[in-house]
Symmetry: D2
Subunit: 351 residues, 4 copies
Amino acid sequence: MPATMKALRKTHAGKGLQIEKLQVPSIGPTDVLVRVRASSICGTDLHIYGWDRWSQGRIHPPVTLGHEFCGVIERTGEEVSAVKTGDFVSAEMHLNCGHCRQCRVGQAHICQNVRIIGIDLDGAFAEFVKIPATNIWKLDPAIPEHYAAILDPLGNAVHTVLAGAIAGQTALVTGCGPIGLMSIAVAKACGSATVFATETNEHRRALAIKMGAHSVVNPLTEDPVKKILEATGGTGVDVLLEMSGNPAAIQQGFKALRAGGRASLLGIPTENVPLDLVQDVIFKGATVQGIYGRRMYETWVQMTALLKAGHLNLEPLFGERMGLENFEAAFAKLQNGLAGKILMYPNGIQG
Amino acid sequence: MPATMKALRKTHAGKGLQIEKLQVPSIGPTDVLVRVRASSICGTDLHIYGWDRWSQGRIHPPVTLGHEFCGVIERTGEEVSAVKTGDFVSAEMHLNCGHCRQCRVGQAHICQNVRIIGIDLDGAFAEFVKIPATNIWKLDPAIPEHYAAILDPLGNAVHTVLAGAIAGQTALVTGCGPIGLMSIAVAKACGSATVFATETNEHRRALAIKMGAHSVVNPLTEDPVKKILEATGGTGVDVLLEMSGNPAAIQQGFKALRAGGRASLLGIPTENVPLDLVQDVIFKGATVQGIYGRRMYETWVQMTALLKAGHLNLEPLFGERMGLENFEAAFAKLQNGLAGKILMYPNGIQG
Amino acid sequence: MPATMKALRKTHAGKGLQIEKLQVPSIGPTDVLVRVRASSICGTDLHIYGWDRWSQGRIHPPVTLGHEFCGVIERTGEEVSAVKTGDFVSAEMHLNCGHCRQCRVGQAHICQNVRIIGIDLDGAFAEFVKIPATNIWKLDPAIPEHYAAILDPLGNAVHTVLAGAIAGQTALVTGCGPIGLMSIAVAKACGSATVFATETNEHRRALAIKMGAHSVVNPLTEDPVKKILEATGGTGVDVLLEMSGNPAAIQQGFKALRAGGRASLLGIPTENVPLDLVQDVIFKGATVQGIYGRRMYETWVQMTALLKAGHLNLEPLFGERMGLENFEAAFAKLQNGLAGKILMYPNGIQG
Amino acid sequence: MPATMKALRKTHAGKGLQIEKLQVPSIGPTDVLVRVRASSICGTDLHIYGWDRWSQGRIHPPVTLGHEFCGVIERTGEEVSAVKTGDFVSAEMHLNCGHCRQCRVGQAHICQNVRIIGIDLDGAFAEFVKIPATNIWKLDPAIPEHYAAILDPLGNAVHTVLAGAIAGQTALVTGCGPIGLMSIAVAKACGSATVFATETNEHRRALAIKMGAHSVVNPLTEDPVKKILEATGGTGVDVLLEMSGNPAAIQQGFKALRAGGRASLLGIPTENVPLDLVQDVIFKGATVQGIYGRRMYETWVQMTALLKAGHLNLEPLFGERMGLENFEAAFAKLQNGLAGKILMYPNGIQG
């Protein structure tokens, strides 16, 4: 095992990222060290690259980015027994405290003291990453490597779709970025009836159809509320899966939701959103759910089972594969929004 | 049986109400005729009296008001078998269509085609009222008459409190009008831990304590969010029961809610409410529920059982009792907000 | 419209059924008359044909059998507005009373006073059948006629599978008669992971694989518990869907269920079943659900949506089609258990 | 701190227990050492004392018994931060593995690899006990010491009662041992309507009434099914809380349960129980739940909140208090079943 490794890091406050040579992390008794196979770039990584306001408040350089990945366990701490060297794994990168109220009542995914590997601690855009053994998710060999690298966002989609009933339900996905697209596939795989989607980007609208959407509306040229109400006999959809964070899309989603329906919100608005609570929530008897992260670890169980059973075809989502050193090209491509999920290989692409 | 009766009605567009002499309603084969014992005045009745914007759009005079009441069955249609003449009853005054999507999936309380007796059809501010037998709720004789007259708003409170877990949960009631006050009593009766409340009116704050609230904050003089977070070790409350419809109270309620908590909204805001969806719903993994009416008829079952078991002391809520003809005095008292529930006796007060 | 019609009836206590000429039923103000297109024979009909002990206690001849069917509305009572002449329909044949405790809390499918058309009242093995309008289920024209004729048992399967989480869950179906086979298809369509099945009949085992089962065990030659525990790493399945009513199969199902799993029981044992409550229910923290009929009408909504979305291929289940007059051949074929669902056409086969 | 301590142990296979002098346990980095204040004797301890068949298979002497207790933290491992020396605590004595399927989906209380302190590892019938910090439950000082010593069985009661809806529900508690009695108090505190109970022992029947039961039947002299059906208008109770483990009581409980009701089973039968699955579970659409241990740690949160809010009066349950060395007297008293919860004070009674 080498003593040093390369890592893609935010080395100081300001725009951009840097490749650095670092010590391979030493691990404690309950940790494992994972040799990273493939890492995927998240929208959050783009924000940190760009050093936006949120990043400035949250990120404390220097830190290695990367929280979507898969790899092989290289070494385990002396108290680790549930996994072993050589295991093919991914990991839940949200570390929960274990003792706050949420942790104590089965809601560890919204732990009050959460720390995130790749945000608050050194992450997986590196040859090796250190992770507590409890957070390791051992993968069935039936799951292909490139799928294994995007379980973090796929988990967001599965968490959102399965936060309530979906079988035999009509659904609307507002916003067809990667997680919105995955949500369409997950909803269909879990028995949803008609799936509507809204998206302004033409390329993504085409992908939405590929993923199984029945009808995709461009809200810039058509009124999605009118269209969905017509298509549902004036009733509206049973389930809103909000993936855009866009205030107008959120409002349209609520208007298209049927009385008694479920609105599951994952997209992150950057400002307060004025809601017509009376008509859209109260008189409707609607249920609105905030969705964050992945349930620990129900979502991982569900997601693995769906993949293993062959229920999900995510191939259309994947873009290029490249070495870690080509990160500038990768981030540039993603900034224009058309690249799908780009995978980076810190230890080389050839498998 | 008399051929005519007196009724308190909106006879024409405009402010005020009028007492009229009317034919006693004739009933169809699946209806019953109830001789009204006591009727209670709802906030909605005040809006209709005042002929506000909402009333102008919804009410089609002439119509008899009154949707909170109890009485005795006087006559039954020929196909009615579940209840009989002489039964002491109240009724669910929301008539559902039976065939819309919501009616078909056990959500009749948010029927798309709902009509309300006392709003859309002649109501219970009269000596007699006609009601479909399916909507009649037969009362246990153990339930006192004055309680029986306010089951409609008590049902709102029970529906809201029991829309999720409450036993062993901390709760915040924002707004201590009659339904807010009843919600405090219901929450305590169902095992809630600390119940916080917010209310600007001093008299109502005193009533909130009487009903079982642990601590009541006047948001005009104290920061309820700060106070509740301190009292809960920074965690926030498990359950928000929103009864005010006031945008600031709603926002405070969300800020005081713990991650993973439940916000059940019954109060009716008169404008759009800007919400910090990211911090207050999404990152919190909160569940927000719109609450409307009473579940048909789970809420009635629960409410009757709570009353019959002696779990609820609602005495502090009651104000004056008067004949129907004194309605002007009753409405005047209620306009200033301090009168509690006023009962009117269309057939005379003496029992 | 003709004044008389032919009907397949139990005319007197004893084995067998008879074709009779009857008056076309007259309908009340809230009923509809349906011209039957296709009727399907249920296992219950076989019991009644054979006049077993249960039949002797429940059936009061003369009565027309038949509770699985589809048809076209011929006439409607004067108070019926939700459906109209010419509508293509099926119906929920369980008539609930509307006022017992279960009816009042959204559990009409287990009404204390249920009466069943085709069991307690004249059914659909006839040219025409009278049904209350509330129980009519209007069908999307996208649903093929032969599927429409078996919504009653398909509803049993959908009710059972969707009585709890199924997406991403492993399942075991014990007993692969028609409803067991449909349950496999429904579970797969709703995102279940590995579906195991047990069945002694070779033909049905082959059908189970066709419907999507991953592995089917013959319990006469192999130990299903051992096999399933091995295949699940010693954990057991998440969900047991019990369709056999066979005591040994029930016991095996419980042994193969994981701790924390769900056992949904639809199959009808003919005797008491000794259960190892400590090991199989209590220490396991299992949830056991009795399943009866179809939820009114959530199950109908779900089932229609699954069919309309093309999620279910039920073709392998269908056997022969014949005129009502050939009922003896149909019942004989079914008695040997290999015939699938046989459809009878009271008004002639040609469409 | 002393180097040695006294402990009440099973030192070898066979009947009886022994007091021994032992080294005070040394703790690992994630453990705490608790100075025991009060310990309570569980029915399980009686089985181990008597060395019954179950004990012979499960217990590996030598081992210190005791799994119901409270105490004060004496020392903490170097990685422990959530609790500190001097904290007043109890603990969940079931240690879960963290990586089996149940642990991964929020069902740690039914972990496949559970080990129990006081059964599999040295317990709290000693001056000191070693416990992993994750399992420590820090107590509000408002909770009295004698209540704090019985949170383990109180948690069983709370887990059972709150495993489904209880507010406004009628309930039947079959078996009024300590946990049955606590269940009555918990059900009442959480808004249950009429609570029925069955119990053969006269003293316990009197206690059941003290705890809030509305009516207690001696099944040796009266038919509880008949009585409960009469009292509920033929409907049956909404909830069965089975606390006896007695086959006849279980069968009666199911017969007294209404269609659509919930049966939560905690009592441990010593043999298979023949159930009338058709009439009592399937046609009834009943939900049956196996209940084991306490949910980790929702039950602890709920129980603490109920106690802190003053909702539970458990005083009638307590029997004598004695030093550890008087264990023979304590076990003798409990064997005759009338002693309530006996508390032992390993470090002396005076507080």
